[in-house]
C-alpha cells in the first residue's frame, strides 16, 4: 500500500519528530510528577503527543510503537473525558514513562537499522489494566460508550430527517444501497458524510442503519450489509449516480427508482433530527496573540555540515587568492588589498553566522538528566534533587552529541557514589535532601559544564594507593597536586567502587568520560573536598570546525598553534636557556621557569635554526600549565578549518588534527594539551 512513498526521508522525519515529542513528554511528566497532579492542559498535551506519535507510527507501519501510543492515548482520552478521581500519579507516570522508554528504544533500533522487535504486549496490558481500574471507580461513564445496542442485522427502522416534504411535486423516489471500499474505515461516518452532502440535493431522506452517529458499531453493519438510503429528489438517476460515485470510498452503488407510492418499510415519523443545523458559531478561542507565523524551520544536519564544509573551502580559497604567489609580480596592489580586506570581513561574518546556526542550547541534554536522577533516587532510596542552571548555553551540534553519555555518567556517579545514604546523611547532620547541580557557562572561547554534588567527596588516599598499585602514577606523593591525584580516576582501568551498582560501574568508568570529552578537544577537571562533595568540570570548545591559528615554521614544515592557547611569543637571547641534569631545557621569563620543547626535536624535522636566539619562543597554556615551544619563525595568523587526521594514522600525541593551507598543502595542528601532558 505504501510502495509509492520513498521512505528514507520520511523515516528520518519520523525519528526526529517522534524523539522530540517523546523527550517533551518525558519532561512534562517529570515536572508534573513533582507537582503530584495532572492539570487539564497537561492531560491534553499527553493525549495530543501520543495521538501524533500513533498516527505517524501507523503511517510508517511501526505497529508496536503505534499500539503503545494508542494505549496511552486511550488512557488519557478517558482521563480527559471522565475526569476520574483518585488517580495514582506515580502509577500513571510510570506507565507513561515506560511507554516513552519503549518508543525511544524502538526508535533507537530504527536509527541503527535494526528490526523493531520490542514486544509491547506487557506494556499495553498494564495500561489497559490500569484503565479498567480507574474505569471501575466511575463505572457509569463507560457503560454509556459500550452499551449502545448493536443494530440487529435486517432490522428495518428508518428515521425521517426532513419531515415537511411530500411525494408530489414531480420528485422521484429513490432507494440507494451504498457499499464502501474494504479499506475505508469509519463507514458510519462516511455514511453520515454522504447523508450530509446529499441533504442539499434531495427532499426527503431516510436511512438505515439510523444511529450511525451515536453508534460506531454500525460501521461493521454497513461494511457487511451496505448503507441503505431512501430519499426523493428532482435529480435524474445519472446525476445522483455521479454524486455517489464521486466519493472515492464508495465501491459499489445500487440505485433504484421506487415506483409505488406507498411508504416503504413503514418509515417511522421523524422523531429525531439527524441533520443538525450546521451554522454553529465559531468558537471564540482565538485569544492568543495572532502573530504565530512560522519563523523556525528544521534543517537536515547533513546539510549544515555541508554548508560548514563549504565555508571551510571558502576560507581556504580566500587564503589561496590573497597569498597567491603571482601577486609578487604585480606592481600596485593597493586596490587589491582593499578588496581583500572587505572580502575577508564578509567571509568572517559568513563563518560566524554558519557557526551560530549550528549552535544548539544544552537544555535538551540537561533535561534528560532529570529522568536519571528521578529513577536513581527512587531505586537507591535517596532524596536527591537536580538543580540545573545555564541550560541555554549553546555549543556546536556536533559537540552536543558527545556530551550526553559523559554527563549521564557523571550524574549517575554523583547520585550513586557521591551522595551518601539517607542514614549516613542524617548521622553526619547533612541536609536530608541531597543536591546535584548541573551548570553550564561560557568562559572565553570555551564552555564549562560543571557537575557538583554535596556528597561524601573523593577519597584521596584510596585513589592514590590504587593508582600507585596499578602503576598509573609514578611521581612521588609529595610532588602531586590534589587535582593530579583525582585525575587518576580518569585513566583507563581505574575504578574504586568495589560494589557494582545497577546504575554506575559495570566496568565503564570515568575513563570513558575522559575519552568522550577528549574526542571533542575538551578536558576534564576534578575537585573534591572530603565530606562536602565533588565537582567535575568539563571544559569544551565552542566549536570544532574552524579555529584561529598561528602558523609556525619549523624547517620545511608548517604547524598551526590554536590562538586561544598562545599566551605570548618572544625572541630569546642566547643563554636564556638552561638545562637540568636530565637534559630538560628550561627558560626563565619574568621570574617564572617554563619547560621548553623544541618542535624540530620533538617532531624530528630538519632545520637550520637550532640556536635559541635564531628562532622564536611561543608560550602556550592549557589548564594553567605552561610550556614554551621553540620554532623557526611565526608565519602569521589564519582561520583554519580543522579536519581530523585520517583514522589510519591512529592518535598522535600532541597533534589534534590537520588543515589545508592557502597553497593547498596539508598541515598539522598542534594539540597544546597533549604537548603539556606529563609523560
Amino acid at each position: 500500500m505504501y510502495k509509492g512513498f520513498s521512505k528514507e526521508p520520511m523515516l528520518e522525519m519520523f525519528i526526529f519528530e517522534s524523539l522530540q515529542l517523546a523527550e517533551q513528554l518525558e519532561q512534562t511528566i517529570l515536572a508534573n510528577e513533582k507537582a503530584r497532579c495532572l492539570e487539564q492542559n497537561v492531560i491534553n498535551e499527553i493525549f495530543r503527543i501520543m495521538h501524533t506519535i500513533k498516527g505517524s507510527a501507523a503511517m510508517m507501519m511501526f505497529d508496536g510503537i503505534a499500539s503503545v501510543a494508542h494505549s496511552i492515548e486511550d488512557l488519557f482520552y478517558y482521563i480527559r473525558e471522565s475526569c476520574p478521581e483518585n488517580l495514582e500519579y506515580s502509577t500513571i507516570c510510570d506507565l507513561v514513562l515506560g511507554s516513552i522508554d519503549y518508543i525511544k528504544r524502538e526508535i533507537a533500533k530504527l536509527e541503527q537499522d535494526c528490526d523493531l522487535d520490542g514486544d509491547p504486549k506487557a506494556l499495553i496490558a498494564a495500561v489497559g489494566e490500569y484503565l479498567s481500574v480507574i474505569r471501575g471507580n466511575s463505572g457509569e461513564n463507560t457503560a454509556k460508550i459500550d452499551d449502545v445496542p448493536l443494530l440487529a442485522a435486517g432490522e428495518k427502522k428508518f428515521y425521517i430527517a426532513t419531515s415537511k416534504s411530500s411525494v408530489e411535486t414531480g420528485n422521484i423516489r429513490y432507494r440507494a444501497l451504498v457499499f464502501f471500499s474494504s479499506d475505508c474505515e469509519m463507514e458510519n461516518i462516511r455514511a453520515f458524510n454522504i447523508v450530509h452532502q446529499l441533504k442539499d440535493q434531495v427532499e426527503e431522506i431516510d436511512y438505515l442503519p439510523a444511529d450511525i452517529i451515536e453508534n460506531n458499531a454500525t460501521a461493521d453493519f454497513i461494511r457487511e450489509n451496505g448503507f441503505d438510503i431512501l430519499f426523493t429528489s428532482r435529480l435524474v438517476p445519472e446525476r445522483l449516480k455521479e454524486f455517489f460515485l464521486k466519493d472515492p470510498f464508495v465501491d459499489h452503488l445500487d440505485l433504484r427508482v421506487i415506483e409505488d407510492e406507498g411508504p416503504v418499510d413503514e418509515p417511522l415519523k421523524a422523531r429525531k433530527q439527524i441533520i443538525a443545523a450546521d451554522t454553529e458559531e465559531a468558537p471564540e478561542q482565538g485569544r492568543q496573540p495572532v502573530n504565530c507565523r512560522q519563523s523556525m524551520i528544521s534543517v537536515n544536519v547533513g546539510k549544515l555540515d555541508q554548508l560548514m564544509d563549504m565555508v571551510g573551502e571558502l576560507v581556504i580559497s580566500e587564503a589561496m587568492v590573497t597569498f597567491n604567489p603571482d601577486l609578487a609580480t604585480a606592481v600596485s596592489l593597493d586596490n587589491f588589498h582593499k578588496a581583500v580586506r572587505q572580502h575577508r570581513k564578509i567571509i568572517n561574518e559568513l563563518q560566524d553566522i554558519v557557526m551560530s546556526i549550528r549552535m544548539v542550547p544544552l537544555s535538551m541534554t540537561f533535561m534528560k538528566m532529570n529522568r536519571i536522577v528521578r529513577d536513581m533516587s527512587k531505586k537507591l532510596n535517596k532524596d536527591v534533587i537536580l538543580e540545573i542552571s545555564g541550560e541555554d548555553t549553546e555549543v556546536d551540534k556536533n559537540i552536543i552529541e558527545h556530551l550526553s553519555d559523559p554527563l549521564m555518567h557523571l550524574i549517575r556517579n554523583a547520585t550513586d557514589h557521591g551522595i551518601e545514604s539517607r542514614e549516613e546523611r542524617k548521622r553526619l547532620g547533612k541536609p536530608p535532601v541531597a543536591r546535584v547541580q548541573l551548570e553550564a557557562k561560557n568562559e572565553g572561547g570555551d564552555v564549562y559544564i560543571v557537575v557538583r554534588d554535596d556528597g561524601a567527596g573523593l577519597n584521596k588516599e584510596k585513589i592514590l594507593v590504587k593508582a600507585q598499585a596499578q602503576g598509573l602514577i609514578q611521581k612521588p606523593e609529595s610532588e602531586l597536586s590534589d587535582r593530579e591525584i583525582y585525575s587518576a580516576i580518569l585513566l583507563p582501568g581505574f575504578s574504586t567502587t568495589e560494589v557494582i551498582s545497577q546504575f554506575s560501574g559495570r566496568g565503564v568508568g570515568m575513563d570513558v568520560v575522559a575519552k568522550n570529552i577528549e574526542a571533542v578537544r575538551g578536558t576534564v577537571l576534578i575537585d573534591s573536598s572530603p565530606g562536602l562533595g565533588t565537582t567535575v568540570s568539563l571544559k569544551i570548545p565552542l566549536t570544532l570546525a574552524i579555529i584561529s591559528g598561528m602558523q609556525v615554521k619549523v624547517g620545511n614544515a608548517v604547524y598551526i598553534i590554536p590562538i586561544t592557547s598562545i599566551k605570548e611569543s618572544f625572541k630569546a637571547r642566547p643563554g636564556d636557556i638552561f638545562v637540568d641534569p636530565d637534559n630538560n631545557e628550561m627558560i626563565m621569563v619574568r621570574g617564572r621557569c617554563y619547560p621548553v620543547v623544541r618542535l624540530h626535536r620533538r617532531y624530528q624535522v630538519k632545520t637550520d635554526i637550532t640556536e635559541i636566539a635564531d628562532g622564536i619562543i611561543v608560550i602556550v597554556e592549557n589548564d594553567s600549565r605552561f610550556l614554551c615551544l621553540f620554532a623557526d619563525a611565526l608565519l602569521g595568523e589564519q582561520q583554519v578549518v580543522v579536519k581530523a587526521l585520517p583514522k589510519f594514522m591512529g592518535k598522535i600525541e600532541g597533534i589534534s588534527g590537520c588543515t589545508l593551507l592557502g597553497n593547498g598543502k596539508a598541515c598539522l595542528i598542534l594539540d597544546v594539551a597533549g604537548l603539556i601532558k606529563p609523560d
Partner: protein
C-alpha cells in the same frame, strides 16, 4: 526502487570482477583488485610529514580537499627506499571507507585474470612468510602478485608503535 539499485550495483561489480590494476614495485609486478582503486595520481605531490608513524607512512596529502594518508609500498615491503621520479604514482584505494594512497614505482595496466588463473601463495607452514599476497595470478606469460589490500592497510604496526614511549628523553 531499491531492487533496481541493487541490480545496477551487482552489474557494476560484475564488470569489475577479475580485473586488476598492475604496478611495479622494485622488480616485481603487483596486482590489486580494480574495485578498490578510486584514482591514480601521476607524479608525487607535496606530502606533509606526520610524526610518530612508521617509516612507510610518508604523511598526508590533500586530495581535492580531502586529507588522506599515503604509504610507500616499497618501504611497507621492507625494501630499500627509492627516490621518487616522474614515473612514481600514487594509487588511491578505498577500503571500508578508509582512503589511502599507495606510492608505487610505476602503474602498468589493467588486466583481467580469471579465477582459475589464480593460485594461492605457498603454505605458511612451508616456512614461507607472506603477509600481503593473497594469490598469484597468471596473465599471459607474466606472473602478478595479487595484493591483499585489507592486510596492507591493517595498522597493527601502527598500534604497536603507539605503545612505545613517545620520545627518548
Amino acid at each position: 526502487m531499491s531492487e533496481i539499485v541493487g541490480e545496477v550495483g551487482r552489474q557494476e561489480e560484475d564488470t569489475q570482477k577479475g580485473k586488476f590494476l598492475t604496478f611495479l614495485v622494485g622488480k616485481e609486478e603487483y596486482g590489486i583488485e580494480i574495485k578498490y582503486v578510486t584514482e591514480i595520481i601521476g607524479g608525487i605531490q607535496a606530502i606533509t610529514e606526520v610524526p610518530e608513524v612508521p617509516e612507510y607512512v610518508k604523511g598526508i596529502i590533500n586530495l581535492r580537499g580531502k586529507i588522506i594518508p599515503v604509504m610507500d609500498v616499497n618501504l611497507r615491503f621492507r625494501k630499500d627506499a627509492r627516490d621518487y621520479d616522474d614515473r612514481t604514482c600514487i594509487i588511491v584505494i578505498d577500503i571500508d571507507d578508509l582512503s589511502v594512497g599507495l606510492i608505487v614505482d610505476n602503474v602498468a595496466e589493467v588486466v583481467s585474470i580469471a579465477d582459475e588463473e589464480i593460485v594461492p601463495p605457498p603454505d605458511a607452514r612451508a616456512g614461507f612468510q607472506n603477509r600481503y599476497i593473497k594469490g598469484i595470478g597468471k596473465a599471459g606469460n607474466a606472473v602478478k602478485l595479487l595484493l591483499d589490500c585489507q592486510r596492507l592497510l591493517s595498522n597493527e604496526h601502527l598500534e604497536s608503535l603507539h605503545q612505545f614511549p613517545d620520545q627518548p628523553k
